[in-house]
Symmetry: C2
Subunit: 344 residues, 2 copies
């Protein structure tokens, strides 16, 4: 383990997940009991940066497990264009680790006026966002000092997953979600290798599909923030639809391919990318895919697809932190960034 | 004008826009009269690639002008995960120039079974997608032979804008939308300069905000498909939230900043990027911003913000086509791409 705050916070994730299971579930249950009494026609989620990737993840459990159509909010529709859209029957969720993201705050405040039920998720109980909605979930991640969010990201994923379960009517924590603290410890202790050869990489494509699309987006964001690599995420379906044209010999591609419905397609994409001469970093449980990679991050294969993004986030955080140090950069202090985002 | 099909199709846009106004509006009006009789609680739009950027555009007129919350669909929720979400009161719109995009087709078919009203937008009246929904809008763009979509993109934007107007209850074409064929001719005839210095650019960031966020995404996609430049789009708000860390001296950034609520923020971002030493390509009506760029694409400043993306798409198509030729590539035949996307 290096001495960066980012590395320390990456390693705190098992205990944060455990704390949410122990202390956060009651909060989720009681908000959900209230919300289930009203009309729940759709969900809209407002967030920026890493929290927006948590929102992208949440779209899948909300649509697939809970069965409610879910949109990612365009904050500018509220902040610039003064939309008076009808939000009756809509649950609007705002996510921000600091709880001070101004346009997300304004989106939640205005959504309430437009008839929505509102809920916020933050890592600061005394923040403005903790008070603006009807309900608030506290992430309990402890102070996050590194500018690059890590432990608050996986905490957000778990909170949002639990919300989908509770809104569906589940009253008890499921068996699989309770395994996450232990499995995340295993991922942190797993051997990984091969990152040195990316020391001089200037750009990278990241790809996955379905539940793990959010992991791909988050990997790209972490790499951009901490290593200044131009990293870009694509749904594997969208990648094949056009951008694959730019991938030729030596082009570095990070593939996230954990078990589930998306995996067979990821397997064929890995072959396609290898045929084009791409250089692969693979996060997977499958040795056949790992064997085709020059940097390999194994993850456990025994979790349901909807929970895998919580584990798969860890290797991509380790990769970003490690690559930042390989490049001689301080992962804790990206140039030109501050922890709380001011959006004009 | 070069001899590429892409260039020829870029130059057909004024007549395509005119044809939609002359022949397409009645189709939009009559579908909207039917749809207005039912419950319209929210909209969900399914698309891939360029059409997905048209969907991103449409989210703004639907939410701001029409006042209906709008989501971009995750096709895998239907195709992989067999979501049984409740879609009563939801209008699900599928967009595909070919009308043969398999996962969009399946999303529309399944949405109908789940209670949605369905509408498709294609450039082929005999395609599978033209028949799968309750309503169909025909783009009338003429056959598009270049793999990189151009005229079908602006046709999609106009059709979706007209749909928002008609669903709102407008019975006549507005004054501003009727000016688009003529204004698009002006954009095609305008002098632009400075693209040569990007001959060896390997990556590029594209940024805008609000209505023109879709233009930024489409610019990035066109550049990736035709020039193999690793081009990545960000909302200006998201760019400031983290990825700006990677932008230093010489880094090429394409900025789209047409008039409206988003422009003051874009102006301050341009200054911020210049302070970091970035090299700017600017699409704008404002000479102060154009003067800070090394490649300049002027656009008219007299249109309402919601229609600007139809004009601003043209310079970015010209840029992609021109840069492909500067790099010695054939913009009509990107490696590894075909016109119809097969998604596994």
């Amino acid at each position: 383990m290096s001495g960066s705050k980012m590395s320390a916070e990456i390693h705190e994730q098992p205990e944060v997940l455990e704390r949410i299971l122990d202390e956060g579930w009651d909060e989720v249950l009681s908000a959900s009991r209230v919300l289930r009494q009203g009309d729940l026609r759709s969900v809209m989620i407002a967030a920026r940066g890493t929290s927006d990737n948590a929102a992208l993840y949440a779209k899948y459990p909300f649509e697939v497990l809970l069965g409610v159509p879910t949109a990612l909010a365009s904050p500018s529709a509220f902040t610039f264009y003064e939309s008076t859209m009808n939000l009756e029957g809509v649950l609007v969720v705002g996510i921000s680790q600091s709880g001070e993201s101004q346009d997300v705050l304004e989106t939640i405040r205005r959504s309430g006026e437009l008839g929505a039920n509102t809920l916020t998720v933050t890592n600061d109980e005394s923040s403005a966002m903790a008070k603006v909605g009807q309900h608030h979930f506290f992430l309990r991640a402890g102070k996050e000092e590194s500018v690059a969010a890590t432990k608050t990201y996986t905490a957000e994923l778990m909170m949002l997953y639990l919300l989908a379960c509770a809104l569906k009517g589940e009253e008890r924590l499921g068996h699989d979600v309770r395994r996450l603290p232990e499995l995340s410890r295993e991922v942190l202790e797993a051997e990984w290798e091969g990152t040195e050869r990316y020391r001089y990489a200037e750009y990278m494509v990241v790809t996955s599909r379905g539940y793990n699309l959010a992991t791909a987006e988050e990997a790209a964001l972490k790499l951009m923030e901490t290593t200044y690599v131009v990293a870009q995420a694509f749904s594997a379906a969208d990648l094949r639809h056009g951008p694959i044209a730019m991938i030729g010999h030596d082009f570095p591609v990070l593939v996230i391919a954990s078990p589930g419905r998306a995996q067979p397609g990821m397997r064929s994409l890995v072959d396609n990318l290898r045929d084009r001469g791409a250089e692969l970093v693979v996060v997977s449980d499958e040795s056949t895919m790992l064997d085709k990679a020059s940097a390999k991050f194994p993850v456990p294969g025994s979790l349901p697809e909807e929970l895998a993004p919580i584990l798969c986030a860890i290797p991509i955080e380790l990769l970003a932190e490690n690559l930042a140090r390989l490049k001689g950069l301080n992962p804790d202090s990206p140039r030109g960034l501050s922890k709380v985002t001011e959006t004009w």
